[in-house]
């Protein structure tokens, strides 16, 4: 095992062996390895198949920008599988299970690779163009086939059993990235009085110091200096260091989201430990020290396993003690790859050639190569890579060769290191809408105008070499501290042996063109080639945003971290315009893929949203209620007896209520106390009805409109005293109604002396309905006369009920004699039980919301939100009687006379009785003219409520229908699956139209 390990190199713990599996095969690595470094140490480069062509792929980077080496990871437990994990960042632990993706039947032999041979069929835009026709093929053929073969990885099949934490943090200074610049900033800020947070996505601090470690820092070896710096920061009381913590998004006012991985590297996860924690960090100042990402070069077969970024090879060597191959050819346009070659050569890797596209390289570099016996080809380029599952050689030619075939020579190798220069990592800065400025000389985008209080330090603003990064980090810290009114002695770091360098930026390499040439990949993960981008431009895409969507370049999970600049350069060249004119696509959060769990945090399961329960809810639960959700409330829908289904239970509840008495928990009704000398005037303006003459001790149905004249809410409102109203609202509308009242009171009528208080949860409300309702209530009321004469319909009394201070309303939502008893919320269940016991003498039944709905529909009482949908006026709903005609104004009054509100063909509320009394229509069913069988038929409206009525022993329905009020006595058709039903149009009151039962 581990034949590619280099003794004495790397920061892994070689005393601790770790085993894990990849596609069922057990491998060994060391503590500190990633899956990628451990597999490479075992000589495994082939780690996955690409998305579209299923080409064999291996890791191309050693970090979070990895596009290729995506794997599934899992623990033994169910639901802990995660697709698309980057092998280059997943640390190994004992027992880790990993699998490759996008292959069938196996990674080594994959049927889908046929796509690679058929690539001419799969050019950019292929799906858009090919699967347009015939239309009917889409559902049955194209979509299922495409879905079966497409996709990255497999979705998890079980619920995620892990927990996720979240936390807010306020700090003076947040530093993102702990490379040389970030460390210098933190070490300087550490010496001030400021609170500092330093975050880095890696398990350890250091950034590029972890692989570019040949330098001497303040006369200490790089590793030694780093260890001390890390210890100093850990000991500083004003510095909090978060590792494995990715700053995923930079939001308004210096809020940065940081996703911290807590257990994905642990063999044994402590009980109850969260898997990840989402930090919402609000910082007064932010320093972005995210560094730069090395760019690939675009040449033929540049995606073969064994082709890596030069810095990745350097990282595998210096951080993990792994040589990525035995013989590595280097192709570059930047000095940095030379240093990578030198490091590898010094570790015993054969470097057959350094191919540099530039015509010249510094004497120092050439001397370094000569000392190590490395052949150098300046002014040359790579035409293609040989080998399929692993690179086996390259062909090179002169950059300026008129015809590439003239000068081609082959060089054998098992690894190719490439470097196309470095792209400053400005993702987070772009989240802030900070502008980017094109640096013509170095051909990079650099940070421009800022929108937030942030500072960019180091390679992020194009500075190169450790000395510059350390200095810049220090300066950024001093700047940030000064903005905070703080100061500190700057922490200076002197670098010896710094490897500074320059480079040029290429689009695709000169040898990579031509129709028959091998494909040169720009976006590895989405299989986008240079020729796809040129095709996009030829087909008329001009903006980079269009090119992106047409080719999908930059749309993969790596968000174009490697591909964006190359794609942009190729598009710009094809368009013959400068890069900034083509534009850059927008970076959006998150910086790297983030689990849904960490966004959700604690908000899952029962904590996803609150469940509001009344004081009586526990009784319903104990008595086998079936519940339903009504806004956030949990309400008892019906109370089935043994053997009853919903229909049977509801039928019984309705029948018994109308025959004797039923009891209902109405506590969820919204309640608002409107109090003050101007309370009546306020009510006059908010509700359509007149309130001035309503006497204390009386109540009235109130209708509320929006300023647009449409029904917003309704409810019974009682006048407690001259200056006090007890307002009830719909269950779901309580908050909206109070908000609307407050809005008018505070912004339009501040002169009114009125106070509004939500009292929904102060009262338990028990509704008693039915001819025997009075008999059940009377024994508990000693200080008031409940007789029909003393306490008529629509009256209210404040009295004691079973010793509890109560507001008793004589109202009804069923059409029967009814009382609604309000007592302080905490006494709800006690009173409920007393009434329930007393009621047994009269055959009292408890009913739920379903029976309530049926009984109110029998009476034609509307439910706002069911009979109305925000476009229904009082006239449409047949409620003009509720409008105070003499009032000069109320909210919505003026709108009622707008021309459209007076049209005769508005949708109006009607009753429907089906010709077949046994047919219960579907709620929501469309309504058409009688005999209209045209397709499509003109739709006149829809059924809003539909029930089996026990009182009428037949079905009933309410509906909104065009010109409905003029259709009384006529008929309409209701087409439903299998049959068209005919129904007669009637009034909306089906039961006791004279209202005699209300006045018993």
């Amino acid at each position: 095992m581990n034949n590619w390990r280099v003794k004495g190199k790397g920061r892994i713990n070689t005393n601790k062996t770790v085993s894990f599996t990849f596609d069922g095969t057990a491998y060994k690595g060391y503590e500190g390895d990633t899956v990628a470094s451990a597999l490479l140490a075992n000589g495994v480069h082939l780690m996955g198949r690409s998305f579209k062509y299923h080409r064999p792929r291996g890791p191309v980077t050693a970090g979070s920008e990895e596009p290729n080496a995506l794997i599934g990871t899992s623990r033994a437990g169910q639901g802990q599988f995660e697709p698309n994990t980057k092998a280059t960042t997943q640390e190994i632990y004992q027992g880790l299970i990993t699998t490759s993706q996008n292959k069938w039947p196996s990674l080594n032999f994959d049927i889908g690779e046929i796509n690679d041979r058929l690539y001419r069929l799969f050019a950019a835009g292929f799906y858009y163009k090919t699967f347009m026709w015939p239309k009917s093929f889409w559902d049955k053929l194209y979509e299922p086939v495409i879905r079966a073969t497409a996709g990255l990885g497999k979705a998890p099949s079980h619920d995620d059993p892990d927990t996720y934490a979240s936390r807010y943090l306020h700090t003076d200074l947040l530093i993102v990235g702990a490379g040389p610049a970030g460390l210098a900033a933190a070490l300087t800020a550490m010496k001030s009085g400021a609170d500092v947070v330093l975050v880095d996505e890696n398990p350890e601090l250091g950034g590029s110091l972890l692989f570019e470690n040949a330098t001497t820092l303040n006369d200490q070896a790089c590793d030694e200096w780093l260890a001390k710096a890390v210890a100093e920061l850990a000991a500083a009381p004003n510095v909090r260091v978060l590792t494995r913590a990715t700053a995923i998004g930079y939001y308004h006012e210096n809020m940065v989201g940081v996703a911290e991985k807590l257990t994905d590297h642990l063999t044994r996860v402590p009980d109850g430990a969260p898997r990840e924690r989402m930090w919402r960090i609000r910082a007064k100042e932010v320093i972005l020290a995210q560094g730069a990402i090395e760019r690939p070069l675009v040449f033929g077969n540049n995606d073969r396993p064994g082709v890596l970024m030069a810095s990745a090879a350097q990282t595998y060597l210096n951080r993990f003690g792994v040589k990525v191959g035995d013989c590595a050819a280097v192709v570059t346009t930047h000095d940095s790859a030379w240093f990578a070659a030198f490091d590898l050569a010094d570790a015993g890797v054969k470097i057959p050639v350094i191919v540099d596209l530039r015509q010249d390289a510094s004497q120092d570099l050439q001397r370094g190569a000569a000392e190590r016996g490395i052949a150098v080809r300046l002014g040359h380029t790579v035409a293609t890579v040989k080998g399929r599952k692993r690179a086996s050689g390259i062909t090179i030619c002169e950059v300026n060769a008129g015809s590439q075939s003239d000068a081609v020579s082959s060089i054998a190798c098992d690894t190719v290191l490439m470097s196309g220069g470095w792209t400053p990592s400005l993702h987070l800065f772009s989240h802030t809408k900070g502008s980017l400025i094109w640096d013509e000389e170095n051909e990079v985008f650099l940070p421009g105008e800022k929108t937030e209080r942030c500072h960019i330090a180091g390679a992020g603003r194009g500075l190169w070499g450790q000395q510059q990064a350390f200095d810049d980090g220090k300066h950024a810290a001093l700047e940030a501290l000064s903005a905070l009114g703080q100061s500190a002695t700057p922490n200076a770091v002197n670098v010896r042996g710094d490897r500074t360098g320059t480079g040029v930026v290429m689009e695709e390499l000169p040898g990579a063109g031509g129709g028959s040439a091998p494909r040169a990949f720009v976006d590895f993960q989405n299989d986008v080639c240079a020729k796809d981008i040129r095709l996009a431009v030829r087909e008329g895409m001009r903006s980079i945003e269009h090119v992106k969507r047409f080719t999908t370049t930059g749309m993969a999970t790596d968000q174009g971290k490697l591909s964006n600049m190359n794609g942009l350069k190729i598009a710009a060249k094809q368009l013959e315009c400068p890069v900034p004119a083509v534009g850059l696509t927008t970076f959006r959060p998150p910086y790297t893929p983030t689990t849904f769990g960490s966004f959700a945090g604690y908000h899952k399961g029962e904590l996803f949203e609150v469940t509001r329960k009344t004081n009586i809810d526990s009784w319903a639960e104990e008595n086998a209620a079936v519940f339903e959700s009504v806004s956030l409330w949990r309400r008892a829908r019906y109370f089935p007896k043994v053997g009853e289904d919903m229909d049977a239970a509801v039928l019984r509840e309705c029948r018994q209520t109308r025959a004797s008495v039923g009891m209902f928990d109405a506590s969820t009704l919204g309640k608002i106390e409107v109090v003050g000398p101007d309370a009546a005037e306020f009510m006059n303006r908010i509700y359509t009805n007149p309130w001035s003459k309503l006497a204390p001790g009386r109540c009235r149905y109130g209708l509320m409109l929006g300023e647009d004249g449409f029904i917003r809410d309704d409810g019974v409102i009682g006048r407690i005293s001259q200056d006090r109203f007890h307002v009830t609202t719909t269950t779901g509308g309580a908050a909206r109604v109070l908000t609307m009242m407050e809005h008018f009171l505070q912004t339009e009528w501040p002169e009114l002396d009125v106070w509004l208080t939500s009292t929904t949860e102060q009262w338990s409300t028990i509704a008693l309905n039915g001819p025997n309702a009075r008999k059940v209530l009377e024994p508990f009321v000693t200080d008031a006369d409940l007789s029909a004469e003393a306490f008529p319909h629509m009256a209210l009394k404040e009295c004691l009920v079973a010793g509890f201070e109560a507001r008793v309303f004589r109202v009804s939502f069923t059409g029967e004699l009814g009382f609604e008893v309000n007592v302080p919320a905490e006494h709800g269940r006690a009173l409920w039980e007393l009434l329930h016991e007393e009621g047994q003498k009269h055959g009292l039944c408890v009913y739920g919301t379903e029976a309530m709905h049926v009984m109110r529909a029998e009476k034609g009482y509307i439910i706002v939100g069911q009979e109305t949908d925000g476009t229904v006026t009082p006239a449409d709903a047949g409620l003009t009687w509720a409008i105070g005609k003499k009032k000069p104004d109320f909210v919505g009054k003026r709108s009622l006379s707008r021309p459209d509100m007076l049209q005769a063909d508005r949708k109006q509320l009607i009753g429907l009785l089906t010709e077949d009394p046994n047919t219960v229509l579907e709620e929501g069913a469309q309504i058409v003219e009688v005999g209209d069988t045209a397709i499509p038929a003109k739709m006149l409206g829809h059924v809003t409520s539909s029930y089996w009525s026990s009182a009428l022993n037949r079905s009933i329905a309410l509906a909104l229908v065009e010109g409905g009020h003029h259709r009384d006595g006529g008929a309409v058709d209701i087409p439903m699956p299998g049959k068209t039903h005919r129904a007669n149009v009637t009034g909306t009151v089906f039961y006791d139209p004279e209202g005699e039962r209300l006045n018993m």
Binding site: H252, K450, T451, T739, H743, Q746, E748, R894, R898
Partner: protein, 105 residues
């Protein structure tokens, strides 16, 4: 997440505590019944929809519960100032000129 200063609480607090409530300084006509259809339509539906500084109402719902007015830049999203209900719109930038540039700080 934006930070908003409630002029009544005199504290700068996270956006979560607040609710947007539409464009500010659109007064309800004194006598709506006297309004011609056209003007009433404008009052109901027509809003300025500016690119730049927008005067709007907010409510400190999960705090003092009071409505106040704010000037906010619709390009950068950021609040420029907030002021109590009833005060006139502050003249902070050149009158009537849109400020579309990102707010440099």
């Amino acid at each position: 997440m934006l930070l908003i200063r409630c002029p009544y609480c005199a504290e700068t607090l996270p956006e979560l505590e607040f609710e947007y409530s539409g464009e500010a300084h659109i007064a309800r006509p004194q006598n709506p019944s006297d309004e011609p259809d056209d003007q009433w339509k404008d009052y109901l539906f027509i809003r300025s929809n500016v690119r730049g500084e927008h005067a709007e109402q907010w409510r400190h719902t999960h705090g003092c519960g009071r409505y106040f007015n704010a000037l906010r830049n619709t390009v950068s999203d950021k609040f420029i100032t907030t002021y109590p209900m009833g005060e006139t719109r502050p003249d902070i930038n050149c009158a009537g000129e849109e400020k579309n540039e990102q707010l440099a700080r």
